[in-house]
Amino acid sequence: MTIVKEKTIGAGGADTGRRKFIAGLGASAAVVSSGVLMRPAWAQTGKLKVGVLLPRSGVQGIIGQSCQKGADLAPAVIRQMLGVDVELMNADTETNVDTARTRAERLIQEGAQVLVGPFDSGAASAIAQVCEQRGVPFVINIAAAPQITEQGYKFVFRNFPTSPELVTNGLALIRDLFQATKTAPRTAVFMHVNDTFGQANAKAIGAILPRLNFLPFKLVETMSYDPAAKDLTVEVSKAKATKADFLLLVCRLNDAIILRREMVKQRWHPMGIISPGSPGMYESQFYQALGKLSEYCISNVPWYHPKAELTRLVDAAFRKQNPKDQLMFHALNVGYTVEAILVAADAYKRAKTASARPLTEAIRQTNITKRMMLGGPIKFNAKGQVEGNLSACIQNLNMKPAVVLPAETAEAKPVFPVPDYRRA
């Protein structure tokens, strides 16, 4: 805030009138006399201002709101854990990359000291550019496109697997699934959303799958579709015509709902629908919109550790804020959003200042071992990327997501091939 005042005076010095100059001088004197400049930023406000950018409306609105639940409960949990006060400054990206960029700029202008978000690779790329230009740290909660942390950015950090990591983890879990169910599908049709995330996943699958000789299937067709599609008749018809054994799907939420309905209408019953690492099929709205049709869909995604201490705290806070809802329907969204804000708060505590450079340096030195999500400690590499985030195989059973693999954390046994939905 002090910097902003100084800039205003300096910028206007040459061409503003005497009155404006004196007013500015007076304001500065007031600030100085109040002793604000004498104290470190840590003591100045006692609060870390976190700008939270999420797609709370638009095509990804429901998932954005799900992430927001994590952001909303984070300050109380963090105060309890670290004794740090966090002030959220929320902004809606409206599922639009340009809006994400302008909202990020606005949050920084309004005093956000660190940005968190935005559940979308396209938006994350845009916000990353803004943060680099303005020198403000940015902690990504969810976004998988690998290029975001391949640009040599100094202020951008990501605690979420990249698409190649997601796909590698997801495909390994598919192997485990086939082994556990003693099945060996020969063919798959691959459908993916045509956005930054979907393209990154498609690229990763194209590069990784041919190298994995432990998987028994081959892709007979790959097709992209519009993530904002209102009708997927053509896409499903084309996929059905391939007669593939199962559907490998990289989706979002709304399209996953439309696609599942269309499969039923066109009477296409493959052995199963498996996502190698995308959102959609474990979200609460998926169950609400589809009812029994949501059963047996499989998502190999990063998930929370059910017995972790942080999970317990977050679960309690979640139930308090959302008495009619359950954490399991927002696991990934809430978990990674809480962890992103935790990273910022933890760094703020160690840096004892919210100034951009020391705070950024403190984020770089992060080493959080007691975390909520599955995987190793939150520790950024030289590119600002956390390595070692793990996935679990989640299957929709009895209208809720259940961990079915890995076996040591499984809550139920996997079902594959899946029964016809009419017998579900």
């Binding site: 209102k230 066109q266 919109a289």
Partner: protein, 291 residues
């Protein structure tokens, strides 16, 4: 790439059925423009409201969308009448850009109101028959789409008969043909304009009720349907009722086939390619009259 014939037939049929509902939506726009000569830039947004009304009636009263057509269309007739009489009539003789700004502003207000009231969540009607298909040899016909298309055809036929044979319909057409002439022979042109806007809105409401059977509704759906309606009426011929239906079917089928033979994510591109072709070689639209 080999594509089996049954698959092609199924997709063409799906394209025709969806296209008929698109056509009904565009018919409302065509009727309003054909008579009042005002382009309704809030067309898609108004249809979105009709879709929400249908979903609300289903949720609150368990009213099937086929029955919801009557109250929703009646409500929209009144809404359209009042909108024209109270807001748009003063703009009829003003420059076109002021009409454009008025209706774009209205569209933005409607989208934001919907966002405030309903939030961004997608909503739909959950009816068992919407997941069923009718099997006819190699054809698999989506029941929801079939019924929606039948309602679209019936509504379009009713409009056609009204404008061709009913006294009021003839009076409206007279105003459309000659504004000054209509006034000279004693027609209350402003009132007839309001009635036309009401009828166009009712037509749009029926399309909205049927569209709920095909897609989930969100507040931000409106602008894309406004654009789609424009593409359809320009392809079919602005002001032509039959042209609107033909345009809808052509767009539906072209999207289906483009998705099948090329990449599905680029299927909308073909609608716009069709639009450019029509603008180049038949600017008045396929069934439109030369000005």
């Amino acid at each position: 790439m080999s594509v089996d014939v049954a698959n092609v037939l199924n997709l063409v049929l799906a394209g025709v059925l969806t296209g008929l509902v698109y056509g009904l939506m565009a018919l409302g726009l065509s009727v309003i423009f054909g008579v009042v000569r005002v382009v309704n830039f809030a067309h898609g947004e108004m249809m979105t409201i009709a879709m929400y009304a249908t979903v609300m009636l289903f949720t609150a009263l368990n009213l099937d969308p086929f029955l919801a057509v009557f109250p929703v269309a009646a409500g929209f007739f009144v809404f359209g009448y009042l909108l024209q009489a109270g807001l748009i009539n003063p703009f009829v003789t003003r420059p076109e850009h002021t009409q454009f700004m008025l209706l774009v502003a209205l569209a933005m207000i409607l989208v934001n109101l919907l966002l405030m009231i309903f939030g961004p969540d997608a909503r739909n009607v959950q009816l068992d028959y919407l997941l069923e298909s009718i099997e006819l040899g190699p054809l698999l016909i989506d029941r929801g789409k079939l019924y929606a298309a039948l309602v679209a055809c019936a509504t379009a036929a009713a409009f056609f008969l009204f404008f061709k044979y009913a006294l009021l319909g003839k009076a409206i057409r007279a105003c459309a043909d000659n504004y000054l002439g209509g006034k000279v022979v004693g027609l209350n042109v402003k009132r007839l304009y309001a009635l036309t806007f009401g009828l166009g809105s009712a037509c749009l409401a029926v399309a909205g009720c049927m569209m709920v059977l095909l897609v989930d509704v969100t507040p931000v759906l409106g602008p894309s349907y406004t654009l789609l309606a424009f593409v359809i009426v320009i392809v079919g011929g602005l002001g032509s009722m039959a042209g609107a239906l033909l345009g809808g079917v052509l767009i539906g089928v072209s999207e289906a086939l483009a998705g099948l033979y090329f990449t599905p994510s680029a299927k909308s591109m073909f609608s716009f390619a069709l639009l450019i072709l029509v603008l180049l070689f038949r600017p008045q639209g396929l069934l439109g009259k030369r000005p």
